[in-house]
Subunit: 408 residues, 2 copies
């Protein structure tokens, strides 16, 4: 008998029929003799609907009340799922983050989990019950309801699995698992049966929407055994492992189109300028992704970086402050970019991957505007309308549609 944590995302519980489907899956896992803890997101568009109502009232709703509002989405879905499981003749009990003691920091809308009180869950499991926990939410020590930000339900599931020392954490989604590329962009993309956790982390950060980076970091830190599966099909999914496959140079390609490029033009090429610039950006809690500093010309240089498009308005608000701090001539913004990344642990021990990438894009006449590399990832910024062509060409070049690795 194993203890399994299952997480179902918003599309998996998108309507009443889908909730019933999830109930059947959960009950089958229980029937197979396992203890089951289920983490659920809000139903499909519920969160959007709640956000829309808040925005009709205020452009800047107080974050504490915003969290109080948004957390109802998961409370609705856990209650409905519990009702559906009862209807199948199984005993279940649903808990909000508050009720199950998911203690978080006080940073509303982006709280971090500090602790989980597992005794309540273990007590219910002992009674033979299926335990359902609201994803995405927690509570501060003062009793205020918090939310965990994007991908929060994944984080709840992984954190619960870690706290409960679960044998397995299954992340259910609307695709079969982790793919070599987004099948909507690259038609020949293949599902990976196994993938290394560092690769998943880079892919997630690079825009692959299967798992949220924070949950992957958590899973890596606490060695939570993770599987990504479809809630609609019977497929073993993708197993996420610490091991990696010898001989495989590149595992996946990701395309990110929700970032914008910011260029700070004609900054004096003296020490401390970048520090000043990015301290200001950090103060506004804007996450910077790629950073490139151009070579100096006449003592002046150019710094370009990418940030989430949603943060552009905040950044524009401090443009004057930035200009004053770094003495630049101007700041430009470009929203028509895409970041194409290739990821693979195999790169560590192989030269020439970057060169291959650049060659492929040069052959297609695609201009590379920024380059950034990590030990297992190469990212390039290209025009947004060239991203699909670039991703497909790279997918073919690295023979990703021929990937053939089976779980043991």
């Amino acid at each position: 008998m194993a203890l399994i944590v299952q997480k179902y995302g918003g599309t998996s519980v998108g309507d009443i029929e889908k909730i019933k489907n999830v109930a059947r899956r959960v009950v089958n896992t229980k029937k197979a003799g396992n203890d089951v803890v289920v983490v659920v997101s809000a139903m499909g568009d519920t969160t959007d609907y709640l956000v829309e109502m808040a925005e009709k009232i205020s452009k800047t709703p107080p974050k504490r009340e915003y969290d109080l509002l948004l957390s109802t989405g998961e409370q609705i879905s856990i209650a409905l799922l519990s009702i559906a499981i009862h209807e199948l003749g199984y005993d279940a009990i649903a808990f909000t983050g508050f009720q199950v003691g998911i203690l978080t920091t006080k940073e509303h809308t982006e709280a971090k989990i500090l602790d989980i009180n597992t005794s309540k869950i273990f007590n219910e499991l002992k009674k033979g019950r299926i335990v359902i926990v609201a994803g995405f939410q927690g509570v501060t020590e003062d009793g205020d309801i918090t939310t965990l930000g994007r991908g929060g339900s994944d984080t709840t599931a992984v954190a619960l699995a870690a706290a409960l020392k679960a044998d397995l954490c299954e992340i259910y989604t609307d695709v079969k698992g982790v793919y070599t590329a987004d099948p909507r962009i690259v038609k020949t993309a293949k599902k990976l049966d196994v993938v290394n956790i560092d690769e998943v982390l880079e892919l997630a950060s690079a825009g692959a929407q299967v798992l949220h980076p924070r949950s992957v970091i958590f899973a890596k830190k606490y060695k939570v055994p993770l599987v990504v599966k479809s809630s609609f099909e019977d497929d073993p999914g993708t197993k996420i492992t610490e091991e990696y496959m010898e001989g495989l140079l590149v595992t996946g390609i990701a395309v990110k189109t929700d970032e914008a490029k910011v260029s700070v033009i004609d900054v004096p090429d003296v020490p401390g300028i970048a520090a000043k610039l990015f301290s200001l950006v950090a103060r506004e809690k804007i996450n910077v992704n790629m950073i490139v500093q151009g070579t100096s010309r006449n003592g002046l240089s150019e710094i370009s970086f990418t940030i989430p498009k949603k943060d552009l308005i905040t950044l524009k608000g401090i443009e004057d402050e930035i200009k004053k701090a770094v003495s630049c001539s101007k700041v430009t913004y470009d929203e028509d970019i895409a970041i194409v990344s290739i990821v693979g642990v195999g790169m560590r021990s192989h030269y020439g991957v970057a060169a291959t990438v650049f060659n492929v894009l040069a052959r297609l006449g695609i201009n590379i505007e920024m380059i950034s590399t990590s030990e297992i990832k190469i990212s390039v910024v290209v025009r947004k309308d060239k991203a699909t062509e670039a991703a497909n060409a790279l997918h073919e070049e690295f023979k990703l549609s021929e990937v053939e690795i089976k779980t043991e």
Copy 2:
């Protein structure tokens, strides 16, 4: 400076514009120098929508999960109202029943308030904040979320006013106050400026939908100063008082059409039969309203009583058990009835009110099927399609459209 508890019902917060309207009213009360605690119901149809989803999954949803589901309705409206108040530049903080410590019994869907932890509210008031509390909900000592049943938000408001020793509890609704009759039924109905609390209690029980009986009982017990007002118009509303007006025989007329008549035919006229019958009905938690036992004929009698229509299905489920227990020949059900009640503290000291009622109905040829009287109320059961005619005739007979009592 007074401490005022205001309660806004579902129609008062029916949409975003109405929530903004409530926010303005609350802020005006605050601006006038008062401490304000606001109790809010779920927005308009939210509860119906949640109920509908649950019913699509199960005809008998487990009550704990049902409460968990329903309580989200108020959580949404308190969050939105708090956001709207912030938008007006005032500081507000919203609390669920759970967060503010509204401790209840464990009877899910019909829990009773046991205690309210007022220190959290007083702390926030001290900081100058407007405190918003979710109506209709509480929490058990085990941390399970409960709901208080019909009219629960009124009960929350009155209980809070009692616990906080508020100077005033204002119940905002979509009408101007308590009327001599439902203006939809009796066109000449007048708003009462003052009404005695016992009369309100009888009127509420008799079907007047302004205040829920439970909240009135609570207000009476803890001497909470109550006012019923419109959230859409500026009108002093109806003040509910312990005093009563000399010289006024009848204060109001109420019509109730949500009950059905049940007749148990040919029961042996021996002691203990009624006890057996109503013990069975009570076991099913069905609220019996009027009870009439006919005179005996050949040692056989007939017992008729009225119950909420929604409980008919439950009652029919124990029909065989009833037949066996009381040895009756059959049980009949009639949903086409109306209960017309006239209420007035003045009846206590005046004879002939009942006779007047019977005369008026006889003149109109309206058959009286059941009669029940209390010290300050006379209720009659008539055919449902005669209720409006009866109510209007009685309203005129007792000159209720000429009522003229002003608050001092």
